[in-house]
Symmetry: C2
Subunit: 450 residues, 2 copies
């Protein structure tokens, strides 16, 4: 079942579109999974995609919409009327529906909502639109199965059959009191093995994990991962059950969070993809490069101020890129380990102990590298021994300082509530370049006295 | 329900352990979730953790074992006899059990297996141990609910009740033929709304996604994510149902994969954490630093070969770190976007188009940065205009070349089946440093003719 879109299939579909051969197209597409059709859409021109879109059943197209890349979805929605979009929305779960409506321009948003057929569904969606998209409320859906603690299993099963009609996947059965306050849960397994005459209050599990509607999505992801939950109920400030979040939504949060940290480490400040426009990519990349450029200005000024050494010790200048590069690499390594540790909540001990460990680590690394450098500069590069000694001492010092900077900056940012991932990548390499050059030439000046 | 271990709680637990106050300890710990107890274990000395471990019920301790950091778990397992470990294993699902037994030394592994009480369970575990841990077989568990297509719903429900006893979470009900070949599935929802007299062959859904037992875990994760599946059945070479993989196992694969790419981008070649030993951290970090050091040797040699310029154009040497840093940063940006695109399967179009886009992008970035550099070098740094022009031309050229290298190397590695993430971080920065310096001085030599 490993599906890969073949070139042949794409060409065939494009031909059928140009021939307006709707019958053949329908036969071809009906065999495909909606996620695969979405991948095909990503490759087609938007007019072609819209053509197919209007050909397919709204049950399938609604699912396709969810799977599309953001920019492709935007183009397709632009090509549809408010009524057509409303037909798609009617097919979707409330959380997905709210996500898609939330992306529309204000005016179209209102038009689409007024065109929705199922009033209950529309109410739920409007309710969800109130929440910040990075909060539990922004992630949750309204589809859930809940029973009253005062019912018996028979009533419960009857009610559940009705409720289950609207719920694609039944994860848990939540138990509430008369005020809709979350009291506990019934597992599906319990339901399979319990007799129908039992009272709910006698069988339900009183312990149930839940999150508050204003908790952040990253916090919800952490909890669901930690406690291995497939769904978690969401309660409001009064403890009333207002929705549920399922693991598939959390998978996206985890992925996005990891992607974001990765991009920051590489000096990309927005969530962009290889297929985004040149303008978007520039907006994400240029700021970091400008930062690095200004860092470069500082290093130019620094080197200028040490130009006295050039007359008798020009070899010193040959080693600047080496020292700067080592400082940058060590700094990025140290910061990445801290950033990841902070993200995974796996950092124990005090900052002081952390720095102490980093010093031992960089001392070990530094001594090994210094030996290699000393031997290499002597035998491979044939450098003067005095210069070799200076470069070697500088390397060890630079590695230690660079790793301390790399370790402490993310920890400090985190203390102040700033995303520590900002401190990886260009920021660390640039500051470590500058520090590295400064330390290197200061040591040289101390020893050679130029 | 946001649980954070407080310092007070930790101190209290440690005191109770030293007082051997088992009763108080039990009361205190029984109120906690096993994932929280696991977090406490990560903070305790291993003797303390083992003390608590032996105090608790094996139903809870088995769950705790699963949640522990690898090194903590290893220490606790060392403190337990084979019989004690077997009691834990008996409580676990087969996939988790196999994971834990797989970590034991060969001899202890055999002892534990021979101590297992439930023979069926032991057979399943031994079977799972055969598979590569990075394959679908290594991820799957044996606990599933399956029914024969030739049964009616009544028999089916009876059988399911028996099977469900062994299954913590019922995701799907799989339908097989007499040869155990996977034919389709019954959804839980269908079960809630179908009459008991219907025949299975009349109601089951004939379309079912599955993976092969030898598929890679990353491929399984991709499929489950793409098709939004909470569980997927695993079949062997003959299409027989041999297990199932659930979304919670996939969450770990996705997280690990993202973490790995992140670490590679930062120049860390093994899966290490901030709390790992200095030796382990050195093993993961040193190789990349050695690579960067040898790259540095090349840059020293390069600069040496251009030393003729030093007499009349010493400013040229002040700009080397700036040029090298820009080359490194641009290269990492380009490669990161490609690596992430490859990981997410979101790269469309040919390599040629990709490179063309990268050239336009870097031309745009390069021209903006070059303007800043030219203005900056003139007004801020007061550099000679001729040198300013050379540095500016060099910057644009270096940015274009660096982005082409950053884009093409991961694409080429991927074509040859090598992990493209290897090409981010130190590898790209080092090669771009060298190329940057070479281009810069070649342009200077061409213009100034030293």
């Amino acid at each position: 079942m490993q599906f890969k879109i073949s070139k042949e299939l794409l060409v065939q579909i494009e031909q059928l579109i140009h021939q307006k051969n709707d019958q053949e197209l329908s036969i071809l597409l009906n065999d495909l999974h909606h996620a695969d059709i979405a991948e095909i859409f990503d490759e087609l021109e938007s007019e072609e995609a819209i053509y197919i879109f209007k050909l397919l059943d709204s049950e399938i197209t609604a699912e396709i919409l969810l799977e599309l890349e953001d920019d492709v979805r935007e183009k397709i929605l632009q090509g549809l009327s408010a009524k057509e979009i409303a037909e798609e929305i009617d097919e979707l779960d409330t959380d997905d529906a709210a996500d898609i409506i939330g992306e529309l321009p204000q005016k179209k948003k209102e038009q689409v909502i007024s065109e929705l057929e199922d009033v209950e569904h529309a109410k739920d969606i409007v309710d969800l639109l109130r929440y910040d998209e990075d909060s539990a409320g922004g992630l949750m859906g309204k589809e859930l199965v809940k029973v009253n603690e005062n019912w018996n299993v028979l009533t419960c099963v009857k009610e559940m059959r009705i409720q289950a009609e609207n719920v694609t996947r039944v994860h848990s059965i939540y138990v509430v009191d008369d005020e809709n306050r979350l009291k506990g849960r019934l597992s599906l397994k319990d339901l399979l093995v319990t007799s129908t005459k039992t009272m709910i209050s006698d069988v339900y599990i009183k312990k149930v994990d839940s999150v508050r509607v204003n908790d952040s999505n990253v916090e919800v992801a952490r909890i669901m991962q930690k406690y291995d939950l497939e769904a978690i109920p969401v309660v409001d400030e009064m403890g009333r059950l207002v929705g549920r979040i399922t693991i598939d939504d959390i998978v996206d949060v985890i992925k996005d969070e990891a992607d974001k940290d990765y991009q920051l480490a590489a000096g990309i400040s927005q969530d962009v993809e290889a297929d985004d426009s040149i303008l978007e990519l520039t907006k994400a990349r240029l700021p970091w490069l400008v930062l690095a450029l200004f860092g470069g200005f500082i290093s130019v000024t620094l080197l200028e101020s040490f130009q006295g050494a050039m007359q008798f010790h020009k070899e010193l200048f040959f080693f600047t890129p080496l020292i700067a590069a080592m400082a940058g690499n060590v700094g990025v390594q140290s910061s990445a380990i801290i950033v990841q540790g902070l993200a995974n909540h796996s950092i124990s001990g005090t900052i002081f102990n952390r720095l102490l460990k980093e010093i031992s680590l960089s001392l070990l690394n530094g001594l090994i590298l210094a030996t290699l450098l000393f031997v290499g500069s002597h035998f491979l590069l044939g450098v003067d021994t005095k210069i070799g000694i200076i470069v070697t001492i500088a390397l060890v010092s630079v590695i230690i300082i660079a790793s301390l900077i790399g370790t402490s900056i993310p920890l400090i940012l985190d203390k102040f509530g700033i995303d520590p991932a900002l401190a990886t990548g260009p920021f660390i390499t640039t500051s470590n370049d500058i520090c590295g050059i400064l330390i290197y030439f200061s040591i040289a000046k101390l020893i050679l006295g130029f």
